[in-house]
């Protein structure tokens, strides 16, 4: 059974106007259907305002569809009694870590989630240690989160979700504020959770290089899924992606440019090794 299933899902934000009685609707998602299998690594791309965050919030029932249906592990997210179940299955890391850090000390912040699961104190702290270790923040456990720099906060936020051991993690631009090293570390953490522990991952990102690790890529455009495929399939469509306000990894772009200039190399090159082999093989 698929862990996430959306059937003709649509969502409108409703804005109430102060002056008049009418409510105004903003269509953020229109009529999309898809299935995600347990253990999949899905990357979601799309221009600003294309509906990525709105879709993500449906996965842990922060939003419920205004039309169509969303199921998480067979549970309909619109059923209010099942809310807690859905939230436990699907953890979420948001775009801005400032809004999700609650504790006054780093390790307390990470403990906050597991504390609500009713497990032993000992278990809680071993989970906190493990999670902090995975994001490389063990050395900061006694610090105040407010006193961390942007990138450090982002890692603490991720540790908070990892400590819940959810079946599925949705990450909404988790690496936007990290330095290259931090980005690599966090991606490694995400990939390990996916590969070793079978956690289903939905990664929203504007960094094209992060997408090459995904099993499948969804490209959103104005509330719809415009393209879907493996990273290689998606990144072979350089010109189409540019029309959708996206791009491709630098190595893919360089290969594409060389091809246009008459060099005989295949389309959809994703790694440096592939390009080097194509040119020097």
């Amino acid at each position: 059974m698929s862990i996430i299933r959306a059937s003709r899902l649509g969502f409108d934000y409703i804005k109430y106007n102060d002056e008049s009685e009418d409510a105004e609707k903003v269509k953020a998602i229109s009529d999309i259907s898809f299935e995600i299998e347990k253990g999949d690594f899905i990357a979601v791309l799309g221009h600003n305002g294309s509906g990525k965050s709105t879709l993500a919030k449906h996965i842990n029932a922060l939003l419920v569809p205004t039309s169509g249906t969303m199921w998480i592990d067979g549970v309909n997210t619109a059923e209010e009694d099942e809310l807690w179940k859905v939230r436990q299955k699907a953890g979420m890391v948001f775009q801005n870590p400032d809004n999700q850090i609650i504790g006054t000390v780093v390790d307390e912040d990470v403990a906050f989630g597991p504390e609500n699961l009713g497990i032993s104190t000992e278990d809680i702290w071993s989970r906190v240690d493990e999670a902090l270790g995975k994001v490389g923040m063990l050395g900061f456990r006694d610090r105040s989160p407010n006193r961390l720099s942007g990138g450090q906060k982002q890692r603490v936020a991720i540790a908070g979700v990892v400590a819940m051991r959810p079946e599925c993690i949705v990450l909404d631009e988790p690496t936007a504020m990290l330095d290259p090293n931090g980005r690599r570390e966090v991606l490694e953490v995400i990939r390990e959770l996916n590969k070793k522990e079978g956690v289903t991952v939905i990664l929203i990102t504007h960094y094209m290089e992060e997408v090459i690790f995904a099993d499948r890529v969804f490209v959103m455009d104005s509330g719809e899924i415009a393209l879907e495929g493996t990273p290689r399939e998606i990144f072979s469509k350089v010109d189409e992606l540019k029309k959708l306000r996206l791009t491709v990894p630098q190595v893919t772009e360089l290969a594409h440019e060389l091809r246009k200039a008459g060099v005989e190399i295949p389309e959809g090159i994703l790694t440096i090794d592939e390009l080097v082999d194509a040119l020097c093989g």
């Binding site: 221009h47 305002g49 720099s149 990290l178 504007h206 020097c280």
Partner: protein
């Protein structure tokens, strides 16, 4: 020299058990019209450093000079300094507060005492520069997507018409086209109006493309300061500091080690393409050449 930092040190929580030394004897001069890329690992002190440039943070020791004057000397007009030096914060969306987009962007010009019509014209121009369409002018900033909020926040600073524009990771959260548009716009402002730009970024690709000078922070100190090509040539050292070179640099080194005689100093796709095409045609002409 437009801005000068002389032996600046800054310690958060000075004198407490939580002391963090964020800047350690920084000496730095910024000239008019420069486009500076400021890079460094997370926590290296970039945000702390730039907040010294517009007087938001007072150094624990050392001096900050703007046009030769110490901004912390008695009677110095810090408010006026901040109209010359515009700063876009790292999470600027946290600073949005007005009821709608256009009013939010008009806030800065209003404080400068411009007429409502002038304020609105400035705000509209700034919103156009960041690619926010008119349909969104009357929308609440809280009802925007992440990237849209960021554009509005950047517009808020552009509307002040600053001579020095400091941007703390302005492109984080923007879609690739939006990133290019914003940085092109800033380059255009610099070329046309001669403004000075300091761009803090974790994208080595972006600073390689736009900056003409790179400053690298490492553990509260300036590790390197020079033209991007020169700085990225030291990518092994950069890696030890939690940074990297643009992907292009790695491609060029990999090609070179496989015998293709490319320029390993190339740091943009365009430079790399030219160098590879030339190397390939040289290789082919050697193969086909007379024996």
């Amino acid at each position: 020299m437009l801005i000068e930092l002389k032996d600046v040190c800054y310690t958060y929580g000075d004198g407490t058990v939580y002391e963090v030394k964020a800047l350690d004897h920084i000496n730095l001069g910024i000239s008019e019209g420069e486009f500076i890329g400021l890079i460094g690992h997370t926590g290296s002190g970039k945000s702390t450093l730039i907040q010294h440039l517009d007087g938001l943070i007072k150094p624990t020791s050392g001096e900050v000079l703007f046009e030769g004057k110490n901004i912390w000397s008695e009677g110095y007009d810090l408010r006026s300094l901040r109209t010359h030096v515009g700063l876009v914060f790292q999470y600027p969306e946290n600073q949005l507060f007005e009821t709608d987009v256009i009013t939010d962007v008009m806030f800065g010009p209003k404080n400068e005492g411009l007429t409502p019509a002038e304020c609105e014209a400035r705000a509209a121009a700034a919103l156009r520069q960041v690619g926010i369409p008119e349909e969104l002018y009357k929308v609440s900033p809280f009802d925007l997507s992440g990237g849209q909020k960021r554009r509005v926040a950047v517009a808020g600073v552009l509307a002040m018409d600053p001579e020095v524009l400091i941007l703390d990771e302005p492109t984080a959260g923007l879609d690739p086209a939006g990133r290019d548009e914003l940085l092109n716009q800033i380059r255009h402002l610099r070329d046309k109006r001669g403004i000075t730009v300091v761009l803090v970024s974790h994208s080595m690709e972006d600073v390689a493309l736009y900056a003409n000078r790179l400053i690298v922070m490492d553990e509260a100190k300036i590790a390197f300061d020079g033209p991007p090509r020169k700085v990225f040539a030291r990518y092994r050292e950069l890696e030890k500091m939690g940074l990297a070179a643009p992907e292009i640099t790695y491609i060029m080194h990999a090609l070179r080690s496989r015998g293709l005689r490319v320029d390993t100093g190339a740091i943009t796709v365009e430079e790399a393409k030219r160098s590879i095409l030339m190397a390939l045609s040289n290789r082919n002409s050697m193969k086909d050449g007379p024996l």
